[in-house]
């Protein structure tokens, strides 16, 4: 790998509170130096990034890469490529595949496929319970030994309070978070969208906000009781944000993530039975969206995660009741963050980078999230002001299920670098983005 000098960009590194015009030198797969007037080593490549932002690569702690078992929707290779095109240098793959990632050899498979993909880094998340059935604990020690960075039964809630308690206690041994999909099953049963006025008009069964909040409250209490780190996935309601805020005031080991769709859309997006607006947790109301944004601003919500959930096109071409939950998100997350949060005046740019890179990396103990010299060179270069229109046909993901088709977004990924190696370069033609 020849050295790469990124010259004259706006370098933003939330891990060191750095936001300044500087050069960044990458050599031997690491960040070699950050500063002004850096020289280019012999045989190196210099790239003029004046007017562009140089940041630590984005880190997504919540994706579904569908392999093994559902390779028609996504593979680890296509997911890692989509991630790279979206500016991500690391993604965590949820274990709800077929079969689920609930043993060390399955974790090893994900690691191997991730390495072969040569896109964003792929970190496996292991299952909390065998078969994600919510009964017996999976072998966390072996999962972690094989490369798992967290455990989760995502896609399903950990319904049993006892299992959740045990998981939090047992996970402490290995220093990993238990990521929970908060949903009280009997309240959410049969629901297909947020329980509110839109569901009433459309005649669709609702999922009440309380179904999420009850489990958020339970998990917070159990985190306090056990001292185990609970990570609350895809928070969607005002009540959840309030509960987490209080938990953080008491310094409990609780972290939380929110998805771009939950800060960008309300349940109104389901109008016309739009199955690309069907996700779980569902799109909520205006006041919930405002609360998520406020939570991202004040740190109640630690991280932005995509919950990237690819589905084959004809799976969404169904009656709303029968369509699956979820949308793809890797290739729109940065644009939505820049457009809705930064341009919308919710977060300064450096804070968006923190929520999409530094904080999630730290929360899950991952490589990345920092441009400090000596760290692996996981670097994102993007043009914060370039506008583009979301065209799902150009996604690198195998799936196209997004409610953001046609949206005009700010922020074009120019180059994504993982460990010093370029894994996406918009100049190379096959972009997931439409260039302005």
């Amino acid at each position: 790998m020849k050295p790469l000098l990124l010259r004259g960009g706006r370098v933003i590194d939330p891990s060191r509170d750095l936001d300044d015009t500087a050069d960044l030198l990458i050599q031997d797969g690491q960040v070699k130096a950050v500063g002004r007037g850096l020289g280019l080593p012999n045989g190196g490549e210099a790239m003029d990034v004046t007017g562009l932002v140089v940041a630590p690569g984005l880190v997504d702690v919540h994706t579904h890469l569908r392999e093994p078992g559902q390779e028609d929707r996504e593979t680890i290779a296509s997911g890692a490529a989509a991630a790279a095109a979206g500016g991500f240098t690391a993604v965590c793959a949820m274990p709800n595949t077929d079969p689920p990632i609930d043993n060390q050899s399955a974790v090893g498979f994900v690691v191997k496929q991730g390495a072969a993909a040569a896109g964003a880094r792929v970190y496996p998340i292991g299952a909390v319970s065998l078969g994600q059935k919510g009964e017996h604990l999976a072998e966390f020690g072996e999962l972690v030994g094989a490369g798992a960075v967290a455990v989760s039964d995502d896609g399903r809630p950990v319904a049993s309070g006892h299992l959740m308690r045990t998981a939090l206690e047992y996970a402490r041994t290995f220093g990993i978070p238990v990521a929970d999909h908060c949903e009280e099953p009997s309240l959410a049963a049969g629901g297909v969208m947020h329980e509110g006025l839109v569901a009433t008009r459309l005649g669709l069964k609702g999922i009440p906000a309380a179904a999420e909040e009850i489990m958020v409250a339970r998990d917070i209490l159990l985190a306090g009781h056990t001292g185990g780190h609970v990570h609350l996935c895809h928070m969607s309601t005002r009540g959840s944000v309030e509960l987490i805020r209080r938990a953080k005031d008491r310094h409990l080991p609780v972290t939380a993530e929110a998805c771009p769709h939950h800060f960008a859309l309300t349940h109104d997006a389901c109008e016309g039975y739009n199955t690309n607006a069907k996700m779980n947790p569902p799109l909520r109301e205006r006041e919930d969206v405002e609360a998520i944004r406020a939570g991202l601003k004040d740190g109640t919500i630690d991280a932005i995660a995509t919950d990237h959930a690819p589905h084959h096109y004809d799976a969404k071409e169904r009656e709303f009741d029968d369509a699956p939950f979820g949308i793809v998100g890797l290739e729109t997350a940065l644009g939505l963050g820049l457009t809705v949060l930064v341009e919308g005046g919710v977060l300064p740019l450096a804070q968006l980078i923190a929520r999409m890179s530094t904080v999630p990396a730290r929360t899950f103990g991952l490589t990345g999230g920092s441009l400090a010299p000596g760290r692996p060179a996981d670097v994102l270069v993007f043009d914060p002001s370039a506008a583009w229109t979301v065209d799902p046909r150009r996604f690198r993901s195998k799936s196209r299920n997004t409610p953001f088709a046609g949206w005009e977004l700010k922020g074009r990924v120019v180059r994504t670098i993982v460990g010093g190696r370029t894994v996406f370069h918009s100049g190379s033609g096959e972009g997931g983005v439409v260039r302005p």
Partner: protein
């Protein structure tokens, strides 16, 4: 000419008051056809209509079929059982295959809300919603409106209370939209566990007690309480439902005004409505059924491109 209702009838929510009045007015001349000795006019001769019923139905399916046959359309009935749906064919594939056989209209009943709209957006034939999940049942709403108008003379200003399981009722939603658009005052009454969230924001009054509703209303539209709701835990028992929410003779005797009683059927006698009420002098339940055929004839005629002012004459010839 452009069809006065557009291509499809998927619900009343998005119809204008004028469009609703047009259907009711067009139904008037069609009432008479069913009173003839030879109940047939050539209006839709040569049109092919598929009745696609993914849920069991007696009243609605037969009513549509009579309406179609009395207009001389060719009809085919397809149910979920015994069709390719059972083999896992998707709705859109079923519909496209039907359309490949060159049909003109699809009348569909489906258990999923939004299914009618989904279909309407994907095929060129006219689609008539005969009930989709818990969303809408527009022709039921229209026949209820026609029946109220027949008896009361006008809908504007009439106080109509819809009673029972509003949460799961497509009839309730179509009634609410239709009644509000034509200027009625609308209320709902039922146990809170069977009222959908935000229903008051649609512009309806909510009564928690049936006694209060009876004091207020001119018309009660009493919904069927589906027996499975008890098993799903929405109410403790049918017996208690009758005691707390049943429309009984005793309760109606305390009504300050003469009360008109509607019920979309099929009735659970002794649960949501007592037999003496259902069979009593103020019940128009069978008149609803009669009007159902006329309303459906009007909808078929208008969607086929028939001109409303020619409905009377059209009974003697083909729709344009």
């Amino acid at each position: 000419m452009s069809a006065p209702l557009g291509k499809d009838l998927v619900g009343l929510e998005h119809l204008s008051p004028d469009q609703i009045r047009l259907i009711l007015d067009t139904a008037e001349p069609f009432k008479e056809v069913s009173e003839r000795a030879i109940k047939k006019v050539p209006t839709l001769r040569g049109k092919t209509i598929v009745n696609l019923f993914f849920e069991s139905s007696t009243r609605t399916r037969i009513s549509f079929e009579f309406a179609e046959k009395r207009l001389s359309a060719d009809t085919v009935n397809i149910g979920a059982t015994g069709s390719s749906v059972q083999k896992g064919e998707t709705l859109v594939d079923t519909a496209r295959n039907l359309e490949a056989m060159r049909i003109d209209m699809v009348v569909m009943r489906h258990p999923s809300s939004g299914a009618a709209r989904f279909l309407a957006e994907r095929i060129a034939s006219n689609v008539i919603n005969a009930g989709d999940g818990t969303h809408e049942h527009p022709t039921q709403g229209l026949l209820d409106l026609l029946t109220i108008r027949d008896v009361k003379g006008a809908i504007a200003g009439t106080r109509v209370c819809i009673c029972g399981d509003i949460l799961h009722s497509r009839v309730a939603r179509s009634n609410i939209w239709g009644l509000l658009k034509l200027g009625a005052e609308v209320a709902v009454c039922g146990p809170q566990s069977l009222l959908p969230r935000g229903i008051d924001e649609l512009g309806v009054t909510v009564f928690r007690r049936i006694e209060e509703a009876i004091q207020w209303a001119d018309v009660l539209n009493v919904l069927r309480l589906q027996l499975e709701r008890m098993n799903a835990g929405f109410i403790p028992s049918l017996r208690e439902y009758n005691r707390v929410f049943g429309v009984t003779v005793e309760r109606l005797e305390r009504a300050p005004r003469e009360m008109l009683i509607l019920h979309p059927g099929p009735m659970n006698r002794g649960v949501e409505i007592d037999s003496q009420v259902a069979d009593g002098p103020h019940s128009v339940i069978l008149r609803q059924v009669t009007n159902g055929v006329a309303v459906r004839m009007a909808v078929l005629y208008l969607l086929a491109g028939g001109r409303p002012e020619l409905a009377e004459a059209a009974k003697g010839g083909g729709a344009e």
